[in-house]
């Protein structure tokens, strides 16, 4: 592991977060999940965000991925404020520039593997045109024989590969992976991480991975440690 500065994005970071805070109500209590997080991510970078359960990793990833709005702070994507946008614009941003992989796979149970991969493209009517591409993508991820299977007919590893293909079908600039190996055994988890690494190398997708599975982190990887809603200072 090679912990680096949390502002390693260079002069013109692709993603730049400043003073991100998130407070939410839990019963009658206010919980401060994030307490002023600063982070720069350079284009083409692979970044691990690690930390114990409840440290705010998933909350931070949700905000960086424009799934959730922060209570305070700013997030710039290519220099433009992300949360200046309407909900509709945020949804379109997620569709066109971001890809997501979740711990629990989060596939649509009524759709086949191909259908799930195409699901982000259904609203703009481009799903049918992209069907060959989706099949090819699944085949490249080793699912050539499982194209028309529904999620309940697939193993955990296969479901996560379908989720990865879904994240890639829109040719995202940034891939957000929230505990992508959390539901998988070590071997299958390693395979998924390898696939994500390959995407980072070519075609150079920027990758943010939230995990507590430290065994997949390699020497040279950039790692940010989150604890109690804040990044730990460098040792």
């Amino acid at each position: 592991m090679n912990p680096e500065s949390n502002q390693a994005g260079g002069a013109n970071p692709m993603l730049s977060a400043r003073g991100i805070e998130k407070t939410y109500k839990k019963g009658s209590n206010q919980v401060r999940s994030l307490r002023g997080v600063d982070l720069d991510v350079a284009r083409g970078e692979l970044l691990y965000i690690v930390g114990p359960s409840g440290s705010g990793k998933s909350t931070l990833l949700g905000i960086l991925g424009a799934l959730d709005r922060p209570t305070a702070g700013t997030l710039l994507l290519d220099g433009r404020d992300v949360f200046d946008r309407t909900d509709r614009e945020l949804a379109l941003l997620r569709r066109r520039k971001f890809g997501f992989v979740f711990q629990a796979f989060n596939l649509i149970p009524t759709l086949t593997a191909v259908g799930n991969v195409l699901s982000p493209l259904i609203p703009d009517g481009s799903a049918r045109k992209a069907e060959a591409e989706a099949r090819d993508l699944l085949a490249r991820l080793g699912l050539a024989g499982r194209l028309d299977h529904k999620p309940f007919e697939l193993s955990g590893g296969e479901q996560q590969r379908v989720a990865l293909a879904r994240a890639l079908i829109g040719k995202p600039e940034i891939l957000f992976a929230d505990e992508p190996t959390g539901e998988l055994d070590s071997e299958k988890g390693g395979e998924i991480i390898d696939m994500i690494r390959a995407l980072n190398r070519d075609p150079g997708v920027t990758v943010l991975i939230v995990t507590h599975a430290l065994q997949h982190i390699r020497s040279g990887d950039r790692v940010q440690r989150l604890k109690d809603g804040m990044f730990e200072k460098e040792a």
Binding site: D87, A91, L92, R94, G115, S119, P120, I122
Partner: protein
Amino acid sequence: MLRFALGNLFAKRIRTILSLVLLTMVLGGTIGLISLSSGMRGSVSTTFMRLDGIVVIAKGSADPLFSTVRSSLVAEIRGIEGISASTPEIWGLVVLLEGRSPLTKGWFSAVGYGGFDPETMKQARGGGLYGKAIVEGRFLAEGDADAAVISRKLAYEYKKGIGDAIAVNGMRFSVVGIYHTGSMFLDQSIIVPLAKAREMHQMREGTVSTVYVETEDASEGSVRAAAARIAALSPDIEAKTKYDWHKEFSAVLGNLDAFFTAQSAYVAVLGIIIVLLTMSMSVMERKREFGILKAVGWTRSDVMRLVLLESAFLGACAGVLGCAAGAASARLLGEFLPFKPLVAPWLVSLTFFIGVFLGVCGGIYPAFKAASLDPVEAMRTE
């Protein structure tokens, strides 16, 4: 999007089928009732359009059965310029036909008798309404004492042919003719000589039920003008043309239409509630799914469109099935009714579009709920 919506709708087959059955029942029931109303309206129109002339009736009598006018009117009316026929009629209800009440055969089996005068009836065009409709045998002739003319429907129901005897209110007649008008009202009559009808009705001499009048010129204007002149003869009579009869019955059917309008409003509310409950349950169960879709880039309007498409399709299916069920039940009812329920093409189209409308209306609130879900919260739903 359509394929995805259809897949979602049939993911929970039992619930979708149950909703479809309920929606089909309410839409099919309505189409059945409206087709009955249309059929009855058509039958009434057919009946009155057959009446060429004017019926002179006691003022305030709703029906010839309850009317008594003086028989001297026959000659007075004949004396009016432009009148080509004036003939007396006595109408009564058949209480016993072949020794039992005709009503034992059902509510639509009431039978009336009409006493006609063959001599003056000859003045009417084609021998009058029943004379024109003879399909077997002959109409009444002068000198007939106990002859009867019955409808083809009654001949079939009571197994009577030409020359057979028939007992009407305890009096015996011989069937000399069979007529067929095709009207559910007119084909329920037995035509007998005026004197026999007077005896059955116990109507005193010098009176009759009605006077049937025809004009030389059968145009609406001439008929109406003649009716006005006849009505001016006496303050206790009315001269009703087919147009008057039609208007009166249309008013009665108008009340039926008001009932159907209320029924349709009730059906619409019921249909919307069925769709609302079905789609609300579906949205509640699929919170996580909507969260995922929003996470991967679906906008609020995309999610709304999906849910509305599902509910509209549910309504459209119910519309198609409702049309089929309504038409089938109307056809089945037609086997037992004296008129044919009418399932008009406009009614079929309207039912389909009402189905879609109910689907969309019922889907608006669940669609709004689904679209408003927070993706992060929704994806946490188990």
